[in-house]
């Protein structure tokens, strides 16, 4: 099933506008609230043999998609289309964070980021060789996690005192027990095979207060994908993500000791609830010195991640600069204190 959102004014294809958070018509400028979009303007078309092929309603061309694509553009007429059957049933997202950064803002934010690159080559800093910007909804699983931790540890306290000419060092050992209830909300893990996990982790955090119940019109005008991994497959990844958080929480509950050594640390975490959610990401494809560099930008906060080229000269410059200036400062201090340079 292919869905077009037709403008109630002029009949052109509408697309989501990140500025207003509404559907907007590129030809007449009409804006339409997503919650109140008139049913009769949603054009649905079932294709025969649909699992394989979709046809654009406007021009009849075959819509070329990959198996994971859930929203795209017609490659001939450019109309925004949403592939509805890939967003229903098991594949229906529960939540979505809409784009709040438009393409122009994304370009500007990316340029600003390249200008701030202190270790990148001069040519890269201009940020003017963006080959392609793609706004994409990336599938994530968000997990509500609950669990318990049972902790046994030995803590020590050390104090020293002096009697006559003898120094006594007393080490007190304590048995420490903690029973902890754990609860973490909406911990994300990206469910797309294509996306680099490390890159996606660095895009966090998203502002969940702007999270909406999923509606298809949010996807109009963007690329979107469906998940490749279900929430059971990804749970181990999310677990490995929160274990360090849990560890650091546990250590905050044990205080006042000079040293703590854990004798037994039993952490039991279960998923309580999962939400299939689409997060907004701008993918930036950038050409530099005959190589394509890929960056990702949080479509909500504008945070940019990805490996930029590194200039060895600048690294050396920073290193010598910092080393030389800190050496000079220390020498100056030691001269001020001691009165001697060497």
């Amino acid at each position: 099933m292919v869905i077009h959102y037709k403008c109630p004014n002029c009949g052109a294809d509408m697309a989501f506008d990140a500025d207003s958070g509404h559907l907007s018509c590129p030809s007449c400028g009409h804006e339409q609230n997503i919650e109140t979009f008139p049913e009769e303007n949603i054009e649905r078309k079932f294709d025969e043999g649909e699992a394989k092929e979709y046809h654009c309603e406007n021009c009849g061309a075959i819509i070329l998609t990959e198996a994971e694509t859930t929203a795209t553009h017609c490659s001939f007429c450019g109309a925004a289309v949403v592939l509805a059957d890939r967003l229903t049933g098991d594949l229906a997202p529960a939540k979505v964070i809409p784009f709040t950064i438009t393409k122009d803002e994304a370009v500007a934010a990316f340029r600003k980021w390249t200008r701030g690159g202190r270790l990148t080559p001069r040519g890269f800093m201009s940020g003017d060789r963006i080959k392609k910007m793609t706004g994409m909804y990336v599938p994530f699983w968000l997990y509500d996690i609950e669990g318990e931790a049972h902790i046994k540890a030995i803590g020590t306290r050390i104090h020293t005192y002096q009697r006559g000419d003898t120094i006594y060092t007393e080490t007190d050992f304590y048995d420490v027990f903690r029973e902890i209830d754990l609860s973490y909300l909406k911990v994300p893990a990206d469910a797309s095979e294509k996306m680099d996990d490390e890159l996606m982790d660095k895009l966090e955090p998203y502002d969940y207060s702007e999270m909406k119940d999923f509606r298809m019109p949010y996807l109009a005008g963007y690329l979107a994908e469906k998940y490749d991994y279900d929430n059971d497959q990804l749970f181990s990844r999310v677990e490995s993500k929160i274990v360090p958080y849990i560890d650091s929480y546990i250590s905050t509950t044990i205080s006042g000791y000079a040293s703590v050594s854990y004798t037994n640390k039993q952490i039991d975490a279960r998923k309580k609830k999962v939400y299939y959610t689409l997060f907004p990401v701008w993918m930036v494809y950038y050409d530099f010195e005959n190589k394509e560099h890929t960056f990702a930008m949080n479509g909500q906060t504008g945070k940019v991640v990805g490996k930029p080229p590194i200039s060895a000269g600048k690294v050396a410059l920073w290193f010598t600069g910092i080393a030389a200036s800190s050496f000079a400062v220390m020498k100056a201090i030691s001269f001020a204190v001691g009165g001697v340079f060497w």
Binding site: Y168, T169, E170, V176, S326, G339
Partner: protein, 259 residues
Amino acid sequence: MRNPAKRIFIASLFLMLLVIGGFSASAQTGELIYDEAGLLTEAEAQELEALAKDYGEEQNVEFLFLTTNSTEGQSIERYMGDFFDERADSTGQEAAVLLTIDIGSREVYLAGFGTAERTLDAERIDLVLDRIMPEMQRDDYGGAFRDTVVTSSHYMEYRPGVNPESIFLKTWFHVTIALLLAGGIVGAMLYNVGGKVTTTPGTYIDRDHTRVRSQDDRFRNKTVTRSKVPQNKGGGGGGFGGGGMTGGGRSFSGGGRKF
């Protein structure tokens, strides 16, 4: 004439005119080295004399070397004090660093007079003694004096009260810290160039439901270790001194050791 220094200076000028060579009769060499115990060879004495003179002019003090076979029943502190009183009265030179060796009781004493009392204080004298003790124990007395002159001159360039051997004043320490700092900062910049992880352990925590349900901290046992309060300066056969006043009323900084 209110100024006692001036008075002493003029008095000593008179004395000098009257009794030139009065003390130098017992001094085998020049005017800085009084090797009454005969620990140095003629050549050695001359070389050290020249060295002491060079360094002394630079620091505006006199580097003096006194050796004796016996302190005639007095303490070495007293003995060298008397020697210096007599010498200062006759030469008018009040600023001096004096290394005294009593070969009879195998004691060494280093003292700073005049300006050297401040620029070579007890702490620095201790450091110099640390330096020369190995030479003393090898019976290399010329070497000990040479080291005293060179090391004291070096120390006296530092502001008074500062420990000249402090690690914070060492160039190698500055270089190491500078390199570590630069390496750390640039390393962190490189590490974060692809974007920082900005989630924290608190990002996804549910504060309403994450809590300590029960806790218990129970004392189990204790261990006690004893150690003696460290005594200052054990090495080199016991130290003494710390400065004082000569019989002639000159105050000095000082320190001595047995060897």
